[in-house]
């Protein structure tokens, strides 16, 4: 005589994964749209930094606001939202610069928007979790947490530049070679 005890679990993994990906996609879409909205507002005419601080011929045209775009890239279970501008002065507003007179100007508009949107992240995640995970997949959708969004900004290549001896602009390869040479001269391992 045999006694069988059978334990079965129908996790429906594919369904859970599909819903998970949809959840991540929608969540990142919402968060990215929020960052874009906040960023655009912070550089709007009348709200933003205004014309160039020491060039009187400049006027606030709203060009930076109009240039801000966003995109969401989904790769498997990972979704990445990007918000940015192709205008170089937008990048310099963000990181700051010294004028010839020696004054430091800065108007960060992107990173504060990222932080502000991040604060509402748990609520946005909860709202989407209720949509995608309601029912039999989990009885406590409110416990689902969104992934951590590092409040970082990746600078586009146009902003990263290298200067060599004599003040000449040099390529990254040349810079790496000069850095190795400099370290060798200074005895830095």
């Amino acid at each position: 005589m045999k006694v069988w005890a059978t334990v079965e679990m129908d996790f429906r993994g594919k369904e859970a994964k599909r819903r998970g990906i949809d959840f991540i996609h929608d969540y990142i879409l919402d968060q990215t749209a929020l960052v874009e909205e906040y960023a655009k507002f912070s550089v709007s005419p009348g709200v933003g930094p205004g014309p160039h601080p020491h060039r009187t011929e400049h006027e606030d045209t709203g060009a930076l606001r109009d240039s801000i775009t966003s995109d969401v890239d989904v790769k498997g279970t990972r979704a990445i939202g990007e918000v940015g501008t192709d205008l170089e002065y937008g990048a310099y507003l963000e990181v700051g610069w010294h004028s010839r007179a020696g004054r430091f100007f800065r108007y960060p508009w992107l990173e504060p928007s990222l932080r502000r949107a991040k604060r509402s992240g748990p609520k946005v995640a909860q709202r989407h979790a209720h949509v995608y995970f309601r029912g039999d997949l989990t009885s406590k959708p409110q416990r689902i947490q969104a992934g951590y969004i590092p409040p970082g900004i990746r600078w586009e290549p146009f902003l990263q530049r290298f200067r060599g001896p004599g003040g000449r602009f040099i390529s990254r390869e040349k810079f790496e070679a000069l850095l190795a040479q400099y370290h060798a001269e200074q005895g830095i391992p």
Binding site: W97, R100, E111, W155, Q160, F169
Partner: protein, 137 residues
């Protein structure tokens, strides 16, 4: 409430390697001093965070600009700055007769090799999150 930038300034100026590398050219807000000519230097400013009025804790993001005559020199200043901040974790600084301990240093972004658009000066931009806690009186 204490000025977080003041704490960072004290931490940096108490590091002999960094002072030797920059010749003491370490500047907090609002930026490089008037009449500054390009040389190895560190400039930093607070980039948001908490200075609690209730708890003796300061946790802020600080952004550092490491200058040099070339990008390679700026990188060297950055590496010395980075070493200094890691090395100083756990050490005390005294400001306004209060003793504060740098509890941890957390990398917050960078390094990025950039060039000042108006002046053409190369620098490395890097951010760290620093947490200080006031020692018991």
């Amino acid at each position: 409430m204490i000025d977080g930038a003041r704490l960072v300034y004290e931490v940096l100026t108490s590091d002999s390697d960094l002072v030797a590398e920059t010749g003491g050219s370490i500047y907090g807000p609002p930026g490089l001093p008037a009449g500054f000519t390009l040389k190895k230097a560190v400039m930093f400013y607070g980039d948001g965070g908490d200075e609690s009025t209730q708890l003796p804790v300061v946790e802020q993001t600080f952004t550092f600009h490491c200058y040099g005559e070339t990008s390679a020199q700026a990188r060297r200043v950055y590496s010395v700055l980075s070493d200094a901040l890691w090395r100083k974790a756990g050490e005390n600084v005294t400001v306004n007769s209060e003793t504060w301990r740098l509890i941890f240093t957390w990398h917050g972004g960078g390094p990025y090799d950039l060039v000042e658009p108006e002046l053409g000066w190369p620098y490395v931009r890097v951010s760290y999150i620093l947490r200080f806690i006031r020692e018991a009186m």
